[in-house]
């Protein structure tokens, strides 16, 4: 991770545009959207350097960024794999086999939930209801919802992700227009 913590010009312009969505003097509102971009750009997690950088853009104290980043479950404060597999295990998913999916993944990737594979490709993360209860069991990876999972579907997905080798971020879907 030698990449310099600095947005390129295009992203920076976007960030400044986003800050204008909030009234004069209230641009701190943009902290969550900007943290999403920063997380996607700088390795999938928020290092102290990344958070300090976001604070400097917003002209707020670093602590104001840390306290936000640590509150929300989509922000990773430690390094993670390129593909974070967010597996829902709340009631509706549990009734339809979420535990099987988790066990299967743990076995397949030879790690426990919360851990990252040695090659840095996958992290298994258990999460709570993602609003996909009618298509349970499900997992989210980056911006994509994978629903009505079967163990076979999970296998295919893992192969696909492994062979592409790409980092997946929540902002993947052309976030330049989204935020």
């Amino acid at each position: 991770m030698s990449k310099e913590i600095k947005f390129n010009e295009e992203t920076l312009a976007l960030v400044h545009k986003m800050m204008k969505r909030y009234p004069e003097g209230k641009h701190k509102s943009a902290v969550i959207p900007i943290l999403h971009i920063a997380q996607a750009e700088f390795g999938g997690w928020l290092s102290p350097e990344t958070m300090d950088y976001v604070a400097s853009i917003l002209k707020i104290q670093p602590i104001e960024v840390y306290e936000v980043a640590s509150f929300y479950s989509m922000f990773n404060l430690k390094p993670v794999g390129k593909c974070v597999l967010d597996i829902c295990r709340t009631s509706s998913c549990w009734t339809r086999g979420a535990e099987d999916v988790i066990k299967h993944l743990e076995k397949k990737l030879e790690i426990k939930a919360g851990e990252t594979t040695k090659d840095g490709m996958f992290t298994i993360k258990t999460v709570e209801c993602l609003g996909s209860c009618g298509s349970a069991p499900m997992l989210q990876c980056g911006a994509s919802y994978h629903e009505n999972l079967t163990l076979k579907k999970v296998d295919t997905l893992i192969e696909e992700y492994r062979s592409s080798g790409k980092q997946r971020s929540y902002t993947d879907l052309d976030y330049k227009n989204t935020l």
């Binding site: 969505r21 009234p23 209230k26 701190k28 509102s29 943009a30 902290v31 969550i32 959207p33 943290l35 999403h36 917003l58 104001e64 306290e67 936000v68 509150f71 929300y72 479950s73 989509m74 922000f75 967010d86 295990r89 709340t90 009631s91 509706s92 549990w94 009734t95 339809r96 086999g97 535990e99 099987d100 999916v101 999460v127 709570e128 209801c129 993602l130 609003g131 996909s132 209860c133 009618g134 298509s135 349970a136 069991p137 989210q140 911006a143 994509s144 919802y145 999972l149 079967t150 163990l151 929540y170 902002t171 879907l173 052309d174 976030y175 227009n177 989204t178 935020l179």
Partner: protein, 442 residues
């Protein structure tokens, strides 16, 4: 077929585009309200409609709107609550994903009624792809002169923005949502002041659920009186229900308020009966926070009358034998489900989502999770059931926001209706096997 007003066009190809949406009558409420009505008249129609908030609490929308303070020279805001994180609830996602313009149209008409120059749609971060769909719809609306300066040539101007969260159930609570929108941790505020007086950036603010805002369009189009004729009594109109769990046809359904629960579960138009022909054991009718009811009490009230999908009928019997319509997150459990283990998933959820400001909630949710965990692991003690009961009682009513109650009610109702199952878990740990059957997934 019941009446549908919100998602009747969900199968029309390309209904997510402005063009097709307008061809199907979209934005009529904006035309009507902005060109022929005063803001007060729009509020009046919503009052007459009897519409109640679809986010969970069921508070009359027209009344809420009329509380909005209007000090001269001060901005007012409309904020749409698209945080949708209550387990079992995914109806707002369906609406926004399939017919994004239905929400944008509602945002414009409602903002006109409230005199809001700016509105925000606060959407949970995980729904990023839905935010993308909404952004695209908003851009189309700007290009067509439906947003921005002098909408449709009138002197009403309005800007609407999407704001993504980052994973926190508590941000669905309206004051936590406002904190989050201001760029802070999602800690609920002490009320009063209510958002209607001091909300976003200290300005008067209305927070409404996605479905509530979308429902304003048909209300303005047909008139409040006509809307009020749909449904039964004080449960007027239609409601989106997201159905999940052990049923043949999980999904989002629009129902006319008043259909029997039995019809909703068993008819092919809706849930299509219990998966694999098994028997119904229990239902959580309105999202994880509402009391769980055993089959006999969800199908019929204690008096033996058929239970209906209305605010009143579902809550008949209070918390002794009733439940709530809540957010419309309808979760069905078949005879193989372990109520105790299911409750554990809820307890873990609430512990995870507690913001930590109030000790009864922060500590109590943690204790409940821990005790339930030891019970399902076969290490429960006979006194644990009373201990759980005691903890939930001590949370209820002693916290800043209703998440405390939301965490307490599932525990109370599970013990009330399924005490024997807890006892079995504790007294016969050797018999425990994982009864959640796993499924359809394999």
């Amino acid at each position: 077929m019941g009446k549908k007003l919100l998602i009747h066009n969900d199968k029309v190809p390309n209904i997510h585009t402005l063009e097709v949406y307008r061809q199907n009558g979209g934005y009529a409420s904006v035309e009507k309200a902005l060109k022929t009505m005063t803001p007060e008249a729009v509020v009046e129609e919503v009052k007459k409609s009897g519409l109640r908030g679809r986010g969970g609490a069921g508070f009359p929308t027209g009344m809420k709107w009329s509380f909005l303070a209007k000090p001269p020279g001060v901005e007012r805001y409309l904020v749409c609550n698209a945080d949708e994180s209550e387990p079992g609830t995914f109806k707002d996602r369906y609406l926004m994903e399939k017919i994004p313009h239905a929400l944008i149209e509602g945002m414009i008409t409602s903002s006109f009624a409230l005199g809001a120059k700016t509105s925000y749609i606060y959407i949970r971060g995980e729904y990023f792809y839905v935010a993308r769909i909404l952004e695209t719809a908003i851009a189309e609306a700007y290009a067509a002169g439906l947003l921005g300066k002098n909408i449709l040539g009138t002197d009403f101007s309005h800007d609407c923005y999407v704001h993504v969260g980052a994973g926190a159930y508590i941000c669905g609570e309206e004051t936590a949502l406002l904190e989050s929108l201001e760029g802070k941790r999602g800690n609920p505020r002490i009320k009063p002041p209510f958002p209607a007086i001091a909300g976003l950036y200290g300005c008067p603010t209305v927070v409404n659920n996605v479905e509530t805002i979308a429902a304003v369009c048909p209300i303005i189009n047909m008139g409040g009186d006509e809307y009020a004729k749909i449904g039964i009594g004080r449960s007027t109109g239609t409601k989106l229900i997201s159905a999940s769990g052990h049923i043949n046809k999980p999904g989002t359904y629009e129902i006319e308020l008043g259909i029997p629960v039995e019809e909703f579960i068993y008819s092919d138009e809706y849930c299509g009966g219990i998966l694999n022909g098994r028997k119904l054991k229990a239902v959580v009718a309105g999202g994880s926070s509402v009391p769980v009811l055993p089959a006999e009490l969800i199908l019929k009230t204690e008096k033996g009358e058929p239970r209906l999908m209305t605010y009143e009928s579902l809550s008949e019997g209070g918390f002794i034998s009733g439940t709530m319509l809540g957010s419309g997150g309808f979760i069905v459990y078949d005879e193989t489900t372990s109520i105790v283990k299911n409750l554990y998933t809820f307890a873990r959820f609430y512990h995870h989502e507690s913001c930590g400001q109030c000790s009864p909630c922060r500590e109590g949710t943690g204790w409940m999770e821990k005790i339930l965990h030891r019970i399902i692991e076969g290490h429960g003690k006979p006194s644990d059931i009373d201990l759980l009961w005691d903890i939930q009682r001590k949370i209820e009513g002693n916290t800043i926001c209703p998440l405390g109650e939301a965490a307490a009610w599932p525990v109370a109702s599970a013990i009330r209706h399924f005490r024997k199952e807890f006892e079995d878990y504790i007294n016969h740990p050797e018999k425990i096997r994982d009864v959640s059957y796993l499924s359809a997934a394999i």
